[in-house]
């Protein structure tokens, strides 16, 4: 009898094994769904930061180009051969409309646009060609550009870099 019991394939160890299998399966499924949620949320945030970083890349390219043009124009005023600058602001305006909400400070875009509009744009649109007034207006334009460069170097560019670094750091933490 003792031998029969010890050789019983349907003993307590059989049922315990089945129960453990059922428990392990249920726990695995639960863990997978929880982990799946966390990873999905992390991935979404990572993509959002990447999208914001791409926006800032484009904004910086427009900003650096336009500032470069204005600096060349400023130099040309000193040599009295005025070079009219070309401003590229389309990507900046697009970024303002389409950047991921709540990630990039909208004031950054506002401050960047303010470097070029409305004052600089007004001068470029209204300086008449070939008159005495033009020379005086160019000198005034030069003073305006000096203020623009000062604000860009002291405030706008550092804040743009700060935002870029913050996004890079956040993206790195999520990888």
């Amino acid at each position: 009898m003792a031998d029969d019991e010890s050789m019983n394939p349907l003993g307590w160890d059989f049922w315990l094994g089945q129960l453990l299998t059922l428990g392990a399966a249920a726990f695995s499924v639960w863990l997978a769904t929880r982990a799946g949620f966390t990873e999905a949320a992390r991935f979404t945030q990572h993509q959002e930061f990447r999208a914001a970083r791409n926006v800032l890349r484009l904004v910086r390219s427009d900003l650096e180009f336009s500032l470069g043009e204005l600096r060349a124009s400023r130099e040309s005023i000193k040599t009295d051969k005025f070079v009219e600058p070309e401003l590229r602001l389309e990507n900046l305006r697009l970024a303002t409309q389409r950047s991921p909400g709540g990630v990039i400070d909208p004031r950054l875009f506002a401050e960047i646009l303010l470097l070029f509009e409305p004052e600089v744009r007004e001068y470029l649109d209204t300086i008449p060609k070939g008159s005495l007034r033009e020379k005086i207006q160019r000198e005034e334009f030069g003073k305006l550009l000096d203020r623009v460069f000062d604000h860009a170097d002291r405030t706008v560019m550092p804040k743009l870099s700060q935002q870029e670094h913050a996004l890079d750091a956040a993206e790195a933490r999520l990888r």
Binding site: P9, A26, A52, G101, A110, L113, L114, T155, A170
Partner: protein, 362 residues
């Protein structure tokens, strides 16, 4: 039952149970997966709503700062080039998340982004008016709309942040802090301004509204009878168009009411709005009104406020004659103190100047 039979039974039972476990696991996974998908969808919804609110709050903060810079000095660079942004609001209105906001919040936002201010900003940019006075009144009203809407927005933001945390199971989120913008410093006072702060205070100022006014009323409008300062850093000179008194009457008392909010925002007619006008004449207006009055003998006076900075945002007042009738001070201005031709908003104290007390609003 032989051992072999039991073994076969155990084998097939094990297979059957494995199959049941497999089916049960798939069923359990699909149910749990469905619930987690719903939880994730709610989390995304809350997160996007939270991001929209953050964007709106930051845009309002940026607009508030631009208005503050514009109102800091009507001659300043911020005044004519004031730039306000509507991008976040226009995007929020197009989004599905807008419908998840509290209706009171959406109402406050519609006030903070009202269409009339867009056209007012266009007029500022196009320099349609020679004087900045009307623009300053509009910007001051707009600033109040923003100041009213931001606490509501923050309340909703806190609620939604709590929802996002709860749906994430309490796990912290990786965030990106916005950059901190420098606060522009105020220029030091000029010699004329310093001299104005040292003027002797006129004796006889009394505080208090003095009870309900029951005398005759005249039409009032914010455009003509209320002033905001040219430069809130102070000091300021208050002037107005001399009210005409009836024959035989003499000026007796000057009443000035200083408030932190617009005392009234529209025009009132003496024929149709008697109750509202009585309240305004009696200084029962919003914005924590501080009323000062002083006996006067002449109509042609101006008032110097020597405080640095000024403790008020709006001012209106009346000249009371010896019969107790109050005449509204119209075309009120709160000029900067100074001489020279560098600005059209400078005044120097005249021969008949009365000086407010320092710290009168404390």
């Amino acid at each position: 039952m032989t051992y072999r039979t039991r073994e076969r039974l155990a084998f097939w039972l094990g297979q059957a149970i494995t199959a049941v476990i497999a089916f049960a696991t798939i069923w359990f996974a699909s149910r749990l997966g469905y619930e987690e998908a719903i939880r994730y969808a709610r989390y995304e919804e809350a997160r996007k709503t939270r991001n929209r609110l953050r964007e709106l709050d930051r845009e309002l903060a940026s607009n508030e700062q631009a208005i503050r810079a514009a109102l800091e000095d009507w001659d300043g660079p911020g005044a004519r080039n004031v730039t306000l942004n509507w991008v976040a609001y226009d995007r929020a209105k197009e989004s599905d998340e807008y419908f998840l906001l509290d209706p009171q919040t959406t109402y406050a936002l519609s006030q903070a982004y009202a269409d009339w201010i867009r056209s007012a900003i266009e007029k500022i940019r196009n320099r349609t008016l020679a004087t900045y006075r009307t623009h300053a009144l509009n910007l001051s009203l707009f600033r109040e709309r923003i100041e009213d809407s931001r606490p509501r927005l923050k309340q909703d933001l806190d609620k939604i942040e709590a929802d996002v945390r709860r749906l994430r199971g309490g796990k912290p989120e990786v965030g990106v802090d916005p950059p901190e913008w420098p606060v522009p410093s105020r220029p030091p006072p000029t010699d004329d301004e310093l001299a104005a702060t040292k003027l002797a205070v006129t004796p006889g100022w009394a505080r208090g509204a003095g009870g309900r006014y029951l005398g005759p009323l005249e039409d009032l409008s914010i455009g003509r009878h209320v002033a905001v300062p040219v430069a809130p850093r102070g000091p300021a000179i208050l002037t107005w168009t001399m009210p005409l008194l009836p024959d035989g009457r003499k000026p007796a008392r000057l009443w000035l009411c200083f408030t932190s909010r617009a005392p009234f925002e529209r025009a009132y007619s003496a024929r149709r709005h008697e109750e509202e006008l009585r309240k305004i004449y009696s200084f029962e207006v919003p914005g924590d009104p501080r009323v000062l009055n002083v006996p006067v003998e002449s109509r042609e006076i101006d008032v110097v406020d020597p405080n640095l900075p000024l403790c008020w945002r709006w001012v209106y007042g009346f000249l009371e004659d010896d019969a107790g009738q109050r005449f509204p001070l119209s075309q009120m201005h709160a000029w900067k103190v100074g001489g020279g031709r560098g600005s059209s908003y400078l005044r120097l104290p005249g021969p008949q100047t009365i000086v407010l007390p320092v710290g009168y609003l404390q």
